[in-house]
Symmetry: C2
Subunit: 360 residues, 2 copies
Amino acid sequence: MRVAVLGLGLIGGSIGLAARRRLECEVVGWGPNRPSVEKALELGVVGCAAGSVEEACEGADAVFCAAPVSALPDLIGTALKASGAETVVTDAGSTKRELVAAFGEDERFIGGHPLAGAETAGVANARADLFEGARWYLTPTERSSGILYDRLQRAIAGLGARPQAIDAEAHDRLMATVSHLPHVLANVLASQAAAELTHDSERMPEVGPSFRDGARVAGSNPVIWADIFTSNRGAVVAAIDDAVARLREARELIASGESGAVEAWHAAAGADRRRLSQAELAGGELHELRVVVANRPGTVAELALALGEAGVNIEDMALHPAADMQSGAITLWVAGKQQVEKAAVLVRELGHSATVLAEG
Amino acid sequence: MRVAVLGLGLIGGSIGLAARRRLECEVVGWGPNRPSVEKALELGVVGCAAGSVEEACEGADAVFCAAPVSALPDLIGTALKASGAETVVTDAGSTKRELVAAFGEDERFIGGHPLAGAETAGVANARADLFEGARWYLTPTERSSGILYDRLQRAIAGLGARPQAIDAEAHDRLMATVSHLPHVLANVLASQAAAELTHDSERMPEVGPSFRDGARVAGSNPVIWADIFTSNRGAVVAAIDDAVARLREARELIASGESGAVEAWHAAAGADRRRLSQAELAGGELHELRVVVANRPGTVAELALALGEAGVNIEDMALHPAADMQSGAITLWVAGKQQVEKAAVLVRELGHSATVLAEG
C-alpha cells in the first residue's frame, strides 16, 4: 500500500513511522517547512519526500492530512483534487463537523481524529507506537465509499489504534464536553483566581490541590487551542451554555442554604465521576488511595517502585504538596479492590500513612 | 501550657500530638464519640480525656475546637461559656465569616483555619507534623485581645505552621475562589459529561486527561462539602456569579470566531496560571516536562527514582494514560530551569521521549 502523509509533525510523523514499520507501506511525505521534512527523512518517518501535495498524492492508496485544524480545509481540498478516484483521503484534526460539511459529498473523504499525541509536538517525538490502543474516530457519511472506508479502517487498526465510526456532529459535541469545556473552565478558574489573589497584593497566593488540578491545562498551546475553539465554536458554545445553566442551578441550591439538597447534588456528581472513570477502564473499578508523605526527592520513586515490584499498576496519580513543598499527600488510583488493599499494605510498610477512600 | 482539644478527628488529633510532642503542653481532649476518644488516648494524642466540654475547658490556656463546620457554632458557644477570662478559644473550620459574626464580640475568640489534612480523616491518621510548614489562617477582629492573639499565634507557630492574620470575609472569599469554586466546577463537569456520554448508550465514554484533572474532586466527601458550601454560601455564590460572567465572555468571544482574540484570551489564562503556581513556590519558577512512556508497573518508579537520585525534586506530577492504559504521557513539574533540563536528560537516558515545554 502506498500512503501519503501531508504535514510532518508529531501525528504525521507517527503515522509515517507506524505505516512503514507495522504495515510495511511505501510512505511519501510532504510538509510546508523544510527542516521538518529533512528531519522526517533522517528519522525514517517517510521513505521519500515529495515537492508538492500533488506529487505526494500521485498514486497513493491513502492520504493522511495531519496539519493544524485551521490549515486542514485548504490541504484536504488540494489533496482531493490531486488524488485518484480510488484514493481515500482522511485527516487527524480535533474537530470534524466543518470538514465533513465541506468535503462530505466527496465519497473519497472520511474524516478522522486519533485521541493521541496532544502532549508533545514535532516530528522529533514521532513514534511507531503512538496510536497503540488509542481510540481513532472516523466520521464517514452516507456518501462515503464502503470500499474506501474499509481500507482506511483496516489501515488504522494496523497502526495499532481502535477505529470507531461516529457522526461528525456527535464527535464535535462529545469533544466539546470532555475536552474543550474542561479547557475553558480551567482558563476561567486561573484568571478568576489571579484576579482575586492579586487584588490584595499583601496576601500570599496560596492555592489548594483542587485549584491546581482544575487549572492545570489553563492556557496550554494558545495557537492550537484558538484553532480548536474557533473551529468547534457551535458545540463549545452549547457546552458552555449547558455549564452556565448547571452553575446557576448549583448557585440557587447553595444560596438556599438547604444543606441536605446540596449534599445530594454533590453526591450525585461524585457518582457521575465514578461512573465515567470506571467505564473507561477494562481492569475493574478504580479505587483511590490517599498517602501522606514527606515530599523529598525519592519518595514518589520509593512508593511507585514498591507497587511496581508487587505488580500493582498505578492508573493515575496526583501529588498534593503542602504549601512549603516539604510534605504532602499523594492520591493513587488503582484498579480493583484487592489491588488497592495490597497497595495500602505496601505503602504502610514503607512507614507512610495510607487510607483507601470509601466509595460514595 | 494547658490545651483543650474539642473534637478528636485528624485535625484535633494532630493538634493534640503536636502540642504534646513539640510544645510539651498538657493536653486534655473531648470528643462526641467514645471510640475516637479511646483511640486518642491509646495513641497518646491527648494526655487525658474529659467527660464534657466544660470539664475539658477547666483551667485551659487555649481551647481548639476541631469539629465539622456545622457543629462549630454550638461547640464554640459552649467552650466560651466554660472557659475563663484568660483563655483563648479558636477553631479549625474551613469557613470563618459566620463564626466571627457570632463570636467576634468576645475578645477571647479568634477563628482559625489550618490548610492541611483534607486528604485523610480520623484520629488514627493524626500526626505531630501534619501542620509542618502549612499556612494557618487566623481571623482576629478589632475586639480580639492582643495578649490572647499573641499566645495563639505563638502556639500555632510552635505546632510547625505558618500563622497569618486575615479578615474573615477576605478569607471566605479567598477560599471560595481557590477551593470551593474548583469543587463546584468539578461537579458541573462530571455531571455534564455523564449526561452527554450516557445520552447515546452505544458510545464508549472516553474522557481525556483535561477532563480527568478537571473533574478529579467532583463529589468528594458530600457531608463535609455540603457543610462548607452552605456555611460559605455568600462567597461561593459570588464566586459562581463571577465564573458565570467570565464563561459568558468566553462564550461570546468563541462564538465570534475571531481566533486572534480567542488566542489572546487563552494565552492570558496561561500567564495567570503560571503566575499563581510560581508565586506559590520558593524554589524558583515551575517548568513542565512532558514524558511519553509505557504505562507498565515500575515506569513511574524508574523515572522518579532516577530524578530522586540526581537530587531533582518532582513538585507535581500528572499521569495521562492512553485509553488502553498501556501507554501514556506523564507531566512533571520541576522548579528551576536548570533542574528541569537535568530531568529531561535523565529521562531521555532511560529511553523515554521528553520535552521541556516552552513557556508562553
